[in-house]
Symmetry: C2
C-alpha cells in the first residue's frame, strides 16, 4: 500500500497487489472525488506524466484512467492543453453529493417517498408463511423426489443438451415449444377429457404463472373474483396482484355452492374453482354444480378458471373428467402443472385457453417474460412420448396411497379421535381438523419452529374461518418421517390444548 | 364397430378396437347424453346386467361406467333399487345444453361478453412484429449461438442433472439460488461497478421479467413513466401491462435529456433508462446527466430503472460503470440478462433491488411464478466460477467487433452514402438510418416477407418518429450472411425509394 498526499488532490490509496488493476483504482478514486465534490468542475488535473510521477505508477495507467473518465464525461480537455473536471456537471448536483458518506447511504429517506404499488404493498402484508420454509414433513405440494426416475431423466437432459440445436437455444414461441404443446394436448384429451387443440395450449413456468397471466388478461382493477372458501392462496395472490376484489363463496360436500354465486348482486368477472379435488379440503364438484357454474358463466359473460392441480392422483375410482370438457361456450381456462407430478424446480405447467383468447394470452406472456426455457420442454416431450411419464404417475399413485394410509394411521394413533381427517382419497395432502378453539396459525408457527411444515387451514380463508385445521402433505415423506412428524406434532399440539387460545387470526 | 339401438336410450356406438376402453366409451356417451338432455333427470337406466346384455359387453364395463358417473353425481340410486339420472341436475341447465351441437360450440357469443382486461387489449393491439419471426439476419438480440461453448456447458448440465440434489429439485427461493446470487453480485461489483449484496439480487427469467416485476412493485395504474424516445419496446409493454401512462422524453448525444424530465409539470413515478448503451440508438449517457437524473429521483421520490442490457460488449474503451454505482439514495433498480451473452432460451437474468424493497420484489415474484428453475442457475454458477463465462465474453467481444465492421462495410458498399450508421461501437446491433420520407415499417414488413429481420426504428417510438431507420442485429450472423442480407435489403429498399411513401405510421 502506498499512501500519497498530493498538493492539489485529496489523499489517495493505491494497492499494487489489489484485486483491481491500478488504472481502475485511480479511475474509481477520481470518479468518487468528482461526484462527491472533492474535485470541483473546471478544476485542472495534473498531466498524465505529473500524476504518474506523483503516484509512482506507470504513465499508461494514468492515461487509461483519464481516458475512461473522459469518455464518461467526467473530464474534459482544458482550454489550451491538459485535462480538467468537466464543467457540465451541475454545481447543485455535486453539492448534494458532497455530503455523501457511509452513513448517508444507510440513511433512509422518509418512507412516503419510497412508495411501492398498492397491490404489492397488500401482498407484502399477507401473513408470512414460516411453514413453507421447511421441505420436510409435511410440506404441501412436494412430491417424492427420491422416487423420481433421475437416471432416465438425466439421460434425456444430456441428449438434448449435447446436440442443442438452434431451436433449443434461440428465442422460442411465447405459447411454448410446439412438439411439447402437441404432447400436452394429447395427454389432456385422453386422460382429462379436455377438449383442445395444441394451438390453445400455453406452456407456463407452473400453475402460478397461469393464474397470474389469467389475472392480467381477464381482470381490470376492481373486478370481482369468486373464490372457494377455504381456497388456494396462490390464486388469491395472483388476483390481488391484478387489483381484483376477492369474494368468498362457501363450499359444501359438492364443492363451491353455485347458488351463492347466482345470488350475488353482481356477477364476478371470474370464478376460480378446483372441481376435481377442491383445494385444500378435497371434495369433488358435483355434475349439477358444474353445469350450473358453466351456465352462470355463459349468461353473465364471466370466465371460469379450472385449476386441475393434482388430478393425476385419485386412489378410489378413476380420475374425474374436467369441467373444461363440458364447456361448450369456451368460458373455461384450464390450468395444470408438472411440478407436482415430477419436481417443482422443473418450472413447467400449462394452460388451455379458449381459441379466441390465445392471442391475448400470448401477448401477456410476451410482456411477462417472453417464453419458457426450451431445454426442459424438449426433455419432457420425450419423457412423455417414451412412456416414462405415465409409468411414473402409476408408481406414484401406489406410493402416495400407501403414504396417505400411513399418515391417517399415525394421526389416529398419536393424535386421538378429536382430530378428523378431511379430504377425498386423492392428491398429495389431507386436512387434519383441529378441536374447536385451537388457533391453527399458532400451531403451525410453533410446528415450523420445530422443523415441521403444517399449513394452517385458516391461511386459506378470506374470512374468519369456521373451523381450524392443518394441511398436511404426504407426497415427499416416507413412513418413518410420517410417524416421527406426527408424534412431534401431537406433542406440540397437546401442549397447546392445555392453554387454548381464542381462534383469532 | 357395433351399433346398438336401445329401446329407452338414443343409439350408441362402441368400438371394441378403439383407443379408449369400452367402459370409458360408455361413460362418455352416457355423460354426453345426460348433459345434452337426451337422458332426463330421474330417468331410470337399465341394470348393469341389462345394459351389458343390450350392448353385448361385459358387465364389469357397465359397472365401471355407472360407478364413475355415480361418483361424479350424474347418476343416483333409484328409489328401491337400480340407477337413474341424478335429479339434482337443474332442468334449465339441461335445456340449455340440449341444443348443443358442433355448430353451437363454434358459434361465438357477442364480443362484448368476451371481454379481456383493458391493459391486455391495448397490448394485443400493439403492431404485430413480423420482423421478430425470423432468427436469421438481422435478428436483434440474438447472440452467436454457433460460437457458444456447448461442450463445456453440456458437461456441466450433465453433472448437475445426474447428481440432482433435493435442492435442485424442490421449491427454491423466490429471489433465486443463493450461490448463483453470490456469483452475480461479485460479477456486477467487479465488472459493472454495481454496489450490492447478494441479498439484493433477484434472479429472473430474463430482463423482461425484471421489467414486469418492477412495474408491478413500483407502479399503480395511471402512474407516469418516463421513457427514452426512441426506446425499448419490451419495457413499454411491461409498463403498459401495469396500467402506466408512458411519457416520451427525447434523447440527444448524451442520452435522455434530463432537463426535459425536470421541466415536466408532474414527476413520473419511474424513469426507464439505458445509460451504458442507449437502446436502440447506442449513445452513452453523460456523467452530468446521470447525476442530474439521480438527483431528480431523490428529490421527487421517483424510481429509476437502469437497463444495462448489453454492457458486456464495448469495442472502443472499457465498459462504462453503472448508474447504480453512483446512486447513494437507493433509487435505482438495476436490470441485466444472460440471454444476450449466452443464449436466449436459457431464460436467466437478474436485477439488483434496493435492500428495503427486496421483500416487496420477493412477494411479487412469488405471486408471478414462484421462482426460477434451479438447474440452469446451478450450471451457470459453475460456468462463471470456472472462468468459462469471462472467456466467452472476451471471445464474443472480438467476434462481434468483426461482425460489426463487416456489417458497416456491407452497408457502405451496397446501400450507398445516403444511409447513416448510428450507434456507439458497442453491443450487438446498430441503426441504419433511412433517407427522409421512407416508411421504415413498410421496409421492415417487406424485408420480413423476404426472410430478413430488420426492426423499424419507428417501432421503438411512442410519438411520430423524427427519423426512419432499421435496427440491424449482427450478433447471430456470420460475414456471408451479413453480405447476402444487406444485398437483399439494398435491393428491397431501392424498389421502395423509387416510390417514396409518406412517413406515416
Amino acid at each position: 500500500m502506498k499512501r500519497v498526499s498530493g498538493t492539489f488532490i485529496p489523499p489517495i490509496m493505491l494497492d499494487s497487489r489489489g484485486r483491481s488493476p491500478i488504472y481502475r483504482q485511480l479511475y474509481d478514486w477520481l470518479r468518487t472525488a468528482i461526484t462527491e465534490g472533492q474535485l470541483r468542475p473546471g478544476q485542472r488535473l495534473p498531466s498524465t506524466r505529473g500524476m504518474a510521477t506523483e503516484l509512482q505508477i506507470s504513465r499508461i495507467s494514468v492515461f487509461n484512467a483519464y481516458e475512461q473518465l473522459h469518455s464518461e464525461g467526467y473530464l474534459e480537455a482544458f482550454a489550451g492543453s491538459g485535462t480538467c473536471v468537466a464543467r457540465a456537471i451541475p454545481d447543485d448536483a455535486l453539492g448534494v453529493r458532497s455530503s455523501r458518506d457511509r452513513k448517508a447511504s444507510q440513511r433512509r429517506p422518509v418512507s412516503g417517498a419510497r412508495r411501492v404499488s398498492a397491490r404489492v404493498a397488500a401482498l407484502w402484508k399477507v401473513t408470512p408463511e414460516p411453514w413453507l420454509h421447511s421441505m420436510g414433513a409435511f410440506r404441501v405440494s412436494l412430491p417424492a423426489l427420491d422416487h423420481f426416475p433421475i437416471e432416465v431423466w438425466s439421460k434425456l437432459v444430456t441428449r438434448h443438451s449435447r446436440r442443442q440445436s438452434r431451436t433449443v437455444m434461440a428465442y422460442g414461441d411465447a405459447m411454448g415449444h410446439l412438439p411439447f404443446r402437441e404432447v400436452i394436448a394429447e395427454y389432456l384429451s385422453t386422460f382429462r377429457g379436455v377438449r383442445c387443440h395444441a394451438s390453445q395450449i400455453l406452456v407456463t413456468t407452473g400453475s402460478q404463472q397461469a393464474l397470474q397471466l389469467s389475472a392480467q388478461v381477464l381482470l381490470d382493477p376492481g373486478d370481482q373474483v369468486f373464490m372457494e372458501e377455504p381456497g388456494y392462496r396462490g390464486a388469491r395472490v395472483a388476483f390481488m396482484n391484478a387489483g381484483a376484489q376477492l369474494i368468498a363463496i362457501p363450499i359444501d360436500a359438492e364443492g363451491m355452492i353455485v347458488s351463492e354465486v347466482m345470488a350475488r348482486p353482481r356477477a364476478a368477472r371470474l370464478a376460480y374453482v378446483t372441481p376435481s379435488h377442491q383445494y385444500p379440503v378435497g371434495m369433488t364438484m358435483s355434475a349439477a354444480r358444474r353445469i350450473s357454474l358453466l351456465n352462470w358463466a355463459m349468461r353473465s359473460g364471466s370466465w371460469i378458471i379450472e385449476d386441475d392441480y393434482d388430478s393425476e392422483y385419485r386412489f378410489g375410482g378413476r380420475p374425474i373428467a374436467s369441467l373444461q370438457g363440458l364447456d361448450t361456450h369456451d368460458r373455461v381456462i384450464y390450468v395444470g402443472t408438472f411440478s407436482k407430478v415430477l419436481f417443482p424446480a422443473l418450472r413447467l405447467g400449462y394452460m388451455v385457453v379458449p381459441g379466441d383468447l390465445a392471442p391475448a394470452f400470448s401477448a401477456a406472456r410476451d410482456a411477462a417474460d417472453i417464453f419458457s426455457s426450451t431445454l426442459y420442454q424438449a426433455v419432457l416431450t420425450d419423457f412423455i412420448r417414451e412412456g416414462h411419464f405415465a409409468r411414473h404417475i402409476r408408481r406414484m399413485r401406489m406410493l402416495y396411497m400407501e403414504r396417505r394410509k400411513a399418515l391417517v394411521n399415525a394421526i389416529r394413533t398419536h393424535m386421538g379421535n378429536e382430530i378428523e381427517v378431511i379430504g377425498a382419497e386423492a392428491g398429495m395432502h389431507l386436512v387434519a381438523s383441529l378441536p374447536l378453539g385451537i388457533d391453527d396459525v399458532l400451531v403451525s408457527k410453533i410446528a415450523a419452529q420445530n422443523g415441521i411444515s403444517a399449513m394452517p387451514l385458516s391461511s386459506c380463508c378470506l374470512k374468519s374461518p369456521e373451523r381450524a385445521g392443518l394441511i398436511l402433505g404426504y407426497g415427499g415423506v416416507n413412513a418413518r418421517q410420517i410417524h416421527d412428524g406426527i408424534r412431534k406434532l401431537a406433542h406440540l399440539k397437546s401442549g397447546l390444548t392445555c392453554t387454548k387460545v381464542p381462534n383469532a387470526k
